[in-house]
Amino acid sequence: MRHYLDFEKPIAELQRKLDAFKAHPEAASLGISWEEEMKVLENKIFEAERQLYSNLTSWQRVQLARHPKRPYSLDYLRTTFQEFEELHGDRLYSDDHAMVGGFARLGTERVMVIGTQKGRDTKENIFRNFGSAHPEGYRKALRLMKLAERFRLPVITLIDTAGAYPGVGAEERHIAEAIAVNLREMMTFEVPIIACVIGEGGSGGALGIGVADRVLILENAYYSVISPEGCAAILWKDRAAAPKAAEALKITATNLKAAGLVDEIIPEPLGGAHLDLDAISLTLRESLLRNVFQLKSLTGPERLASRYAKFRAFGHFTEPKSTA
């Protein structure tokens, strides 16, 4: 059963009608066929979907990015990648299940993959801490990236988190430092690094594995400095203003590409990645491989210089000519 979001209700309604025709109990026995009607309905659905999904608001995309059926990192590790060998722990405190990582094969390439991981149901979400990593997660990610650097494996990170975990333990073990160190160290690894936002790109928790030579984003993913709800609570004093905040923050793939903050948008199947995992997995593999090949044609120092220049250039300000 497809899971419909609120704004997808018109399509759900049409689909229900179509299903009713298809499943009519007397159709076969009476020899009646509703070919015509069904064809009209199918066209209607197609047209409605095309209309709806090509005009999504920022908030609707946020909802798609958080869709309960949306593919997560481990889904892509089964489809886009092969032979995933998970590696555990930060060698300091524990193994963070909200951050997964390990060796994997991407087509012809052997790579290191690191990704934040959400849970599909309540039980799994508790195990995965709803995809919000503790300091251990970021330190595990750093450990694996250092390993990749020593043995010359390209690093691919998959980002899908509402943010780093805001809890007492996280503060006590210094989540801010864990993220900050990653930001600094990721600027020093000579191996190619590609980051891909596959769902939610939640602020520092996303950036903590997001400093890369190439930053890709799935069509319906978002990447933001603060959650739309958080922004709404502060600026509008009302969490319900989240749709307005989502618009104002310019967080969709298209907005980010236009601002030069991401390098490439990976198109999703109509209606979202969750409707066709095979298709999105292939598109993702093709894009990742192409970027790995391009980056491999550069030397290590060249990659470092261009990665630094890329992040160095972000920002807008005015500077009146000094009279001095």
Binding site: A164, Y165, P166, G167, V168, A170, E171, E172, H174, I175, A176, E177, I179, A180, V181, L183, R184, E185, M187, T188, S203, G204, L207, G208, G210, V211, Y223, S224, V225, I226, C231, I234, L235, W236, K237, K244, A245, A248, L249, K250, I251, L256, A259, L261, R307, Y308, F311, R312, F314, G315, H316, F317, T318, E319, P320, S322
Partner: protein
């Protein structure tokens, strides 16, 4: 938030000895129907505003010039009030030795952000209110003792010290200047985090500043990060947390997530000292707590050690 509890307590204390003997609390007497009247007399409301400042911790009244002379530290209880960037720089560097970098750089409203009020109008009102500041950080090179140091000081009074493109760019240029000229770096942070109004551009300043610090560290140059009240979120999760030395002012609020967010997420009571400088020190996250009045001398002392036998690379 922690100070609010203290303040309320202190006000209660103040209410206890009224000018007149209060009636016995047996409910029989109605001669003093409302207690607040008494307190309003004891509060000195007729004093011109701005001359006297009430300390939120000890409730003592401090003559504001005395407070300024004492670097905004309460002379009675050593409560550290917030200190402006320029006053702080003045307190740290040798007279006339500070050369400011990029003094004219200003923020622009790149997203055309409109919320309850627009970013553009916010910026205008802050610039008007604070003609000495163009944004939330002042950067430059100056002498601290005998050490020439690249110094960046944030100012919380400008939009909560939030980091947007200007803060990120000025700090990055400062760090690059330090790297190029072989200077030690001191950054004094005071910030609520990344500036929402600039969206993802603000988030990227975290990567930008940390990247620049990576190259500064590679040259074996020391970086001392000083955390003042408050340092949180995007600033704490970037340059403020990666100092070779990390110092904090007493009682400063320091953390990643806001206290209310943590409370809401964990649904639990938080320890009263949660996210204070003392909390961080106790858990081994910072090197030392340094009172403001000792900061300059301590920095000079640390720099002596860090620069004495340094091998340039």
């Amino acid at each position: 938030m922690a100070t609010r509890g203290i303040r309320r307590k202190q006000i209660d204390v103040e209410q206890v000895p009224p000018a007149v003997t209060p009636p016995t609390r047996d409910g029989a007497s109605n001669s003093f129907p409302s207690r607040p009247k008494l307190t309003s007399k004891t509060k000195k409301r007729d004093i011109p505003e701005g001359l006297w400042i009430k300390c939120p911790r000890c409730s003592g009244l401090i003559y504001d010039k005395e407070l300024d002379d004492n670097l905004k530290v309460c002379p009675n209880c050593t409560h550290h009030f917030k200190l402006g960037a320029r006053e702080r720089i003045h307190s740290m560097v040798e007279t006339c030795s500070f050369e400011e970098i990029d003094p004219l750089m200003e923020s622009v409203d790149i997203l055309k952000f409109t919320g309850s009020s627009s970013y553009e109008s916010k910026l205008l009102s802050y610039r008007k209110k604070m003609p000495m500041l163009k944004d939330a950080v002042v950067t430059g090179v100056g002498l601290i003792g005998t050490h020439r140091v690249a110094l960046g000081v944030m100012d919380f009074s400008f939009l909560g010290g939030s980091m947007g493109s200007v803060v990120g760019e000025k700090l990055t240029r400062l760090i690059e200047t330090a790297t190029d000229r072989g200077l030690p770096l001191v950054i004094v942070s005071s910030s609520g985090g990344a500036r929402m109004y600039e969206g993802m551009f603000s988030l990227m300043q975290m990567a930008k500043t940390c990247g620049a610090l990576a190259y500064h560290a590679r040259r074996n140059l020391p970086y001392i990060s000083v955390l003042t009240d408050p340092t949180t979120a995007g600033v704490m999760a970037s340059f403020a947390s990666v100092g070779d030395l990390i110092l904090a002012e007493p009682c400063a609020m320091i953390g990643f997530a806001g206290r209310r967010v943590v409370e809401a997420t964990t649904q639990s009571e938080l320890p009263p000292d949660f996210q204070t400088a003392e909390f961080l020190k106790q858990r081994g996250l910072i090197d030392a707590i340094v009172p403001r009045l000792e900061m300059k001398q301590r920095l000079i002392s640390y720099l002596h050690y860090l620069m004495a036998n340094r091998v340039a690379s």
